[in-house]
């Protein structure tokens, strides 16, 4: 965005410019009494809400109280100082991913996934690939235009290479959870080396690894195209696939 916002410094807006009004709700582990209400006001004060109006307090179970507080917050927001970390590819919905693949690739995009080595923790690869997905978000199997082959746990590197060839994989997803003696790093290097050997340069499938202990900046060192860390969602992976395999390549050749 190059448009300079009209006002650089803003306050929250209740019903009048500059009134700074906010509403918050929270629970304190205290039984409901005068003291608990005082504690809620104190917390609001420390959050910068002054004066704070305690508009609702409700006891819940044994020893908990829920509060709703309205009040004027004395902080200012400087929009010029806002720093946003940008993803280097746009996040697409399943529908948009399907549309791009269908329109621009004109065939199903083939994805092969596995846990390699002795790692039997398929939680990660299943969260990304299973229709069930994770946290209410569907996995890649749900995407109509993706053809997903999930090889499961303890897949050997030669088997993975063979499956990638048989499925004409556009992308290979590998999940590594176990990190004992850096097993995740060794396994990943072995895998990327095998793919480098098996395909001519520039022809091999996109290699993606994921797991909670990877450093996302180690792609070059591990010989893969992308690393995804903890908390990655299927939509992020799908969006990246579309970006790396379709949209950015098109842009480069046009």
């Amino acid at each position: 965005m190059t448009v300079v916002p009209e006002k650089q410094v803003v306050r929250p807006y209740g019903d009048t410019t500059g009134d700074g009004m906010v509403q918050v709700s929270f629970t304190l582990p205290l039984p409901h009494d005068k003291r608990a209400e005082g504690a809620a006001i104190q917390l609001a004060g420390k959050m910068g809400i002054d004066p704070a109006m305690l508009v609702h307090a409700r006891p819940m179970g044994d020893g908990f109280t829920f509060f709703v507080v309205y009040g004027r917050v004395n902080h200012l927001v400087d929009t010029a100082a806002v720093r946003v970390v940008e993803r280097d590819f746009p996040l697409l919905s399943a529908k948009e991913v399907n549309a791009v693949v269908k329109r621009q690739l004109r065939r199903k995009l083939s994805v092969v996934g596995a846990c390699i080595g002795t790692d039997a923790h398929t939680v990660g690869i299943d969260a990304i690939l299973n229709v069930k997905g994770i946290a209410g978000e569907k996995g890649l199997e749900y995407y109509r235009e993706l053809r997903v082959s999930n090889l499961g746990a303890q897949v050997s590197v030669p088997d993975l290479v063979a499956a990638a060839r048989a499925e004409r994989a556009d992308a290979v997803l590998v999940s590594q959870v176990v990190t004992q003696r850096d097993a995740h790093l060794h396994n990943t290097r072995e895998m990327s080396a095998a793919f480098r050997e098996a395909w001519p340069a520039g022809k091999r499938p996109l290699l993606i690894v994921g797991g909670p202990r990877f450093d996302e900046a180690m792609t070059a060192e591990l010989g893969v195209d992308r690393i995804f860390g903890r908390g990655t969602t299927p939509a992020e992976v799908a969006s990246y696939l579309v970006h790396a395999l379709i949209t950015s390549r098109k842009a480069a050749t046009v």
Binding site: R58, D126, A127, V131, G136
Partner: protein, 520 residues
């Protein structure tokens, strides 16, 4: 309650007949196959307990040992009890330990040895089934003493901390706050484990492992709550995934009250092999029938992937299939918590009337089933204020259409796992709606020939058409071709296929024999 939609009884009968026709070949298939998990469940009923030092249950070690020597197709009961007699051991768990050390030889016994082995196996399994019977009688006694919830629908709440010792106080707090049924969500990925973990567990991913010990601990805690509250608080878990039959057996042994148990969920959403699923499912339902457990089916899941208006009829088809499979396995109507959900996009015009039509259709097609009514998830956006309103409408439709089990919707769906305050606000919402409009179903009669009736008729007609298409091929082909949801699941693919075997001529399973009431 029936007759508000003026459904055509001929069409309803036709729908059931088609569902039976589609399901019959699958039942045939299930009757001719067994799985490692069915056999492990048999051994659990026969009294095999515990796990090796690596945490692998002895039932797994024993089944693996038998399979390695004689294969799965004879069933493990006869080879195991034959070996027990030859080794002159009194305890099957001990045999499992010796077998794991490689010091036991197994064979499929013939002649007199076979008769003796079968008799011994049947005696051991019958003792397990009697334990399940006693737990059922105990439930009935406790329900008489403490009473059922005063209202319908029953209020169903979820806990999921990953730590059974955290789950317990949360479940008890939820019961005190009004929950009639508590479900302990399982750890992510447990459905794909081909063994049941052992012991009390304190670490799970977004849920708590289902183990026999966790079942026992939670049931004991809720018995305490039932006494305190003067109503019987029910406990729910999951008979799904690769260990479905064992979960059912453990649930029966530990007096769980409801189990999620869908005929096709594992196939569609977990890519578990279709044959494995149908075989496991039939056995697990036979156990549930015996244990007096209410099953909850998973039709709500279709609507999280497919559109709730366009695909409404697939829910009806799945309910009819689940009903057929359930009846075939011996479950009574009161045990059928058939699932459906409030998932129509709220931006669609007349979305509430569509929901009413769908919910009432389920109610009238299955008048004696409790029905499990699931809250909105797909259109919960993180706008918690709108979410709370949507949950209110969900509760209202539940009250208006006489749903049996209401899973409490959380306004923070898709935001966080529910906080204490989220649960409290959600329960206030339920109580307000049931208090204000709990009897409104008496006055709510859709206009003859109006929008709601027409919509329900259309969904039923589409369901019959889909069942006709399935009937022309077979259910397995239909699943293979992606008729349900959007997943294609061929019968020769998917997880757990290597744990399936066709029955040999001398296949023997004392549990099935007892549960089907054959012999004596």
């Amino acid at each position: 309650m029936t007759g508000k939609l003026d459904l055509d009884p001929v069409l309803v009968a036709r729908a059931r007949e088609l569902a039976a026709r589609a399901g019959a070949s699958v039942v045939e298939l299930a009757r001719g196959h067994t799985t490692v998990s069915v056999e492990r469940a048999v051994l659990r009923l026969a009294g095999v307990q515990g796990a090796d030092p690596d945490g692998i249950p002895w039932v797994n070690r024993l089944v693996d040992a038998v399979v390695a020597e004689v294969g799965l197709g004879h069933g493990v009961a006869a080879p195991v009890f034959d070996a027990l007699a030859r080794e002159q051991l009194a305890d099957v768990t001990l045999l499992a330990q010796k077998a794991a050390a490689g010091s036991v030889r197994f064979e499929a016994p013939a002649g007199r040895a076979a008769t003796a082995a079968r008799r011994a196996a049947r005696r051991a399994v019958a003792a397990g089934v009697r334990r399940i019977d006693r737990r059922r009688a105990e439930r009935e006694r406790l329900v008489r003493r403490f009473g059922d919830p005063p209202q319908r629908p029953w209020i169903y709440l979820i806990v999921a901390t990953g730590d059974i010792h955290e789950d317990i106080p949360q479940a008890q707090a939820a019961a005190r706050a009004g929950a009639d049924a508590i479900a302990v969500i399982r750890s992510t990925g447990q459905s794909l484990l081909d063994y049941v973990p052992e012991g009390a567990t304190r670490e799970g991913f977004a849920g708590t492992y289902a183990t026999q010990e966790n079942f026992r601990l939670m049931r004991a805690a809720l018995d305490e709550s039932s006494r305190e509250l003067g109503r019987y608080v029910r406990l729910t878990n999951y008979a799904s995934g690769l260990c479905m039959p064992e979960m059912a057996a453990l649930a029966g042994l530990e007096r769980l009250d409801m189990m999620l148990n869908d005929s096709m969920y594992g196939i569609l959403f977990r890519d578990i092999n279709p044959i494995r699923t149908f075989v496991d499912q039939r056995f697990s339902r036979q156990v549930h029938a015996r244990a007096g457990i209410i099953i909850n089916t998973g039709e709500d899941n279709y609507l999280t992937t497919a559109d709730a208006v366009d695909e409404a009829h697939t829910v009806t088809v799945s309910q009819l299939l689940n009903e057929y499979f359930a009846h075939e396995a011996g479950l009574a109507d009161w045990q059928l918590g058939l699932g459906h959900a409030f998932e129509v996009n709220p931006d669609v015009p007349e979305s509430l009337r569509l929901e009413l039509a769908h919910a009432l259709l389920a109610r009238e097609l299955f008048p004696d089933a409790p029905l499990k009514w699931m809250p909105p998830t797909k259109h919960m956006t993180g706008d918690v204020f709108r979410g709370n309103l949507l949950d209110g409408f969900f509760n209202l439709v539940g009250a208006l259409t006489g749903q049996g089990i209401l899973l409490v919707g959380m306004m923070t769906e898709a935001v966080v796992t529910p906080w204490l305050s989220d649960r409290d606000i959600a329960l206030q919402n339920v109580r307000y709606v049931l208090g204000a409009a709990g009897g409104l179903h008496e006055d709510f009669v859709p206009a003859p020939g109006g929008f709601i009736q027409q919509r329900a008729h259309l969904v039923l007609r589409s369901a019959v058409e889909l069942l006709e298409r399935i009937g022309e091929q077979s259910l397995l082909t239909a699943i293979g071709e992606g008729t349900f949801g959007i997943m294609k699941r061929p019968a020769d693919r998917g997880r757990g296929l290597d744990g399936v075997a066709r029955h040999e001529g001398d296949y023997y399973n004392p549990a099935v024999e007892i549960l089907e009431g054959a012999g004596s």
